[in-house]
């Protein structure tokens, strides 16, 4: 690594370069007091700079993970890790199938659709399904729900939790012992108690909460999913400087990806739609622009196909583009039934 890339303040960097220190080896032999004299800075600052340099050189020579490159993993190790990961079921079998079993941990999934298609419903369903105990095939984790629009209806979450518990107990009806063990966990109230709800009222708070999550997740070890509903709302309202908006969104998406890898959880972002003029006509597309579309790992679009709700995998490194029908019932997201009532007006 070059001096020019050191994470120290620009004025110190400029002083180092103008004093003739261009490589790390030139800094390795110098003492703090000599450096302070050469650069004309305080002794404490000089020793800070030397500390940063020695940290970097030390970590580069450590063998972490793989002997060839620090911090790398072989593809085989990653594959075995991935196969051991459980997926978060969405409640609808067809949807789970096209998602490869469900929502993956360690990945950022973006879900977008027109108003009324069921994005918030899917968000609430995932917040409930992540809590299905390990004995019943779930992850037994907690959920963080970041609400930017105020669309989280807690009574609906209660209904969905009840529906989920009922269906899970039905499926495992013959395992009497398992049911008795998890009796307390399988109550709608305890499911509600494991959903951490943040209400965000501006984009500053949205950035702040994502920064704060690093500390929050270190304390709450069991969180397995973060749902942001919706990631677009404040960014469409308050921003006039679009270049700044892109930079802020980029920073946010990088932080979210880091969170998924560090804490081994899934991040689901709900997005709105807008119209775009391409190829001579207006088409629907997800909001926030083309640069944002690179931010997520997987992208799922929910849309109306005639009278039925469908989900389409728009972008994914490993899943095939496919669509699957689903429906929203009083119990939550379930398989599509043959007759689905769709309201005539949009």
């Amino acid at each position: 690594m070059e001096i020019a890339n050191l994470p120290i303040s620009p004025s110190h960097r400029a002083k180092l370069l103008s004093a003739g220190y261009t490589t790390f080896s030139s800094l390795s032999a110098v003492s703090p007091s000599q450096l302070a004299r050469d650069l004309n800075i305080a002794l404490q600052e000089a020793s800070d700079i030397l500390k940063v340099v020695s940290d970097i050189t030390r970590s580069e020579s450590l063998h972490g993970g793989n002997a060839i490159l620090k911090g790398a993993q072989t593809a085989w190790d990653m594959l075995s890790e991935e196969q051991m990961q459980k997926r978060i079921t969405t409640g609808c079998d067809d949807l789970d199938t096209i998602l490869g079993g469900g929502i993956h941990c360690k990945e950022v999934t973006e879900v977008g659709g027109v108003p009324g298609i069921g994005k918030t419903q899917l968000g609430i369903q995932l917040a409930v399904n992540v809590q299905i105990p390990v004995e019943y095939g779930g992850l037994g984790g907690k959920a963080v729900y970041i609400d930017t629009e105020g669309s989280f209806m807690v009574e609906r979450a209660y209904q969905v939790a009840e529906g989920c518990i009922m269906d899970t107990l039905d499926k495992f009806g013959h395992h009497r012992k398992v049911i008795l063990d998890c009796q307390e966990q399988m109550q709608p109230n305890s499911f509600l108690a494991n959903i951490f709800y943040f209400r965000i009222c501006s984009y500053t708070e949205q950035i702040a909460v994502i920064n704060y999550l690093q500390k929050f997740l270190a304390e709450q070890k069991d969180v397995k999913i973060i749902i942001i509903d919706s990631v677009t709302f404040h960014f469409r309202q308050d921003f006039d400087d679009l270049a700044l908006r892109t930079r802020v969104l980029c920073g946010m998406s990088l932080k979210l990806m880091e969170l998924t890898k560090t804490y081994n959880l899934a991040v689901v972002l709900l997005n709105q739609v807008t119209t775009k003029f391409t190829e001579g006509s207006f088409q629907l597309t997800l909001a926030l622009g083309d640069s944002w579309s690179h931010a997520c790992t997987n992208r799922v679009i929910l849309y109306w196909n005639g009278n039925e709700r469908h989900a389409y995998i728009d972008k994914s490194p490993s899943l095939r583009s496919a669509s699957a029908p689903f429906s929203v019932t009083s119990k939550g997201i379930r398989n599509a039934t043959s007759q689905c009532k769709r309201v005539r007006m949009m």
Partner: protein
């Protein structure tokens, strides 16, 4: 929250001074910039910048609640205005929710204003009769509010209350009607409303109708400028609803949709071609005010007339098909 001053956040003085010297006064300024840019701007090391940003974020971040405590709050403080239409109340888990924006959509003449009149009455009723015992602010943009009709509804639905002397006067006296017809006027009044709501114990806010305000604006008839105009009133209404924990009901018009306008995703193009001829024969009605507005409302109630007859007395033959937003679709006979 976003405009909190950095100087008041308890950062170490040396760091706080550097922020101030570079004119980064509020948390919003600090958090809008990526960390590397901050580092360059403030001339501080990355570690220092990171810890300062962490501290600012922690202070700005709103406190969290578990969904269970949200539920308990709602039960304790009341979360809904019951409409007394059993199917509707069941589907909405109790009634029109507090703290959220509810939209009524339907063609003209279907009964949206009547529904609003009924809701105003319900909110004005005392607790013992199932009401919210509070004032109602009714913003009337189309000059449709009929106090005569409202008293008639009251006398027919709650005869026992309206029989007694002075009750009609008291109930009607709680409903404050404001007439306005232009968007700038609306925006100005909204600002004043913020204080009125708290001071005068207002329990329900109705805007009838929102679309009329926008359609009066003399702009070229593209969707773009109109949606932009609504951005601020929209977010203000939402925040009003949430901070004062009252229901806000807004009515919307419908307009007919050109089939050419039927928007599709790029991957849907092929399907569209095959059914193109069939679609041209029907003309769909869609709600006015555009897609961005539709994203922002929490509950959308769509009124449709199925039997051809609507509004026969109080429990009319209007079928209310519950919209897909906010709950599952349910058909009410």
């Amino acid at each position: 929250m976003a405009n909190k001053l950095i100087s008041q956040m308890g950062l170490p003085p040396s760091i706080a001074n550097v922020f101030a010297a570079r004119n980064i006064m509020t948390a919003k300024d600090a958090l809008s910039l990526p960390e590397f840019e901050l580092m360059t701007l403030l001339d501080m090391g990355l570690d220092q910048v990171k810890s300062a940003v962490e501290r600012i974020s922690e202070i700005i971040c709103p406190p969290y609640q578990t969904a269970l405590s949200l539920m308990e709050d709602r039960v304790r403080l009341g979360g809904h205005l019951p409409t007394l239409l059993r199917g509707l109340d069941d589907a909405l888990c109790g009634g029109i929710p507090f703290g959220a924006l509810t939209e009524l959509v339907g063609p003209s003449g279907i009964g949206k204003t009547q529904f609003c009149l009924k809701l105003s009455l319900l909110a004005a009723l005392p607790f013992c009769y199932g009401g919210l015992n509070g004032r109602v602010v009714y913003i009337d943009t189309e000059y449709k509010f009929s106090s005569h009709r409202m008293v008639e509804i009251g006398k027919n639905s709650f005869p026992q209350i309206f029989q007694s002397e002075g009750m009609a006067q008291q109930m009607a006296g709680r409903i404050i009607v404001v007439r306005m017809s232009s968007l700038p006027e609306f925006m100005e009044r909204l600002q004043q409303l913020k204080f009125t709501l708290i001071q005068h114990d207002v329990k329900l806010l109705i805007v009838d109708s929102m679309a009329a305000l926008v359609s009066g604006v003399n702009d070229t008839s593209t969707a773009g400028p109109k949606q932009h105009l609504l951005r601020w009133p929209l977010s203000f209404l939402k925040s009003l609803a949430e901070f004062s924990r009252i229901p806000v009901v807004v009515t919307n018009q419908v307009r007919s949709q050109n089939t050419d306008e039927a928007f599709h995703y790029p991957f849907q193009v092929q399907e569209k071609d095959s059914s193109k001829n069939f679609e041209r024969l029907e003309s769909h009605l869609i709600a006015a005010l555009g897609i961005q507005w539709a994203h922002a409302v929490t509950i959308r109630l769509i009124f449709e007339a199925h039997s051809g007859v609507w509004w026969v007395g109080e429990r009319g033959a209007v079928e209310i098909l519950l919209a897909c937003k906010g709950g599952h679709v349910q058909h009410n006979p």
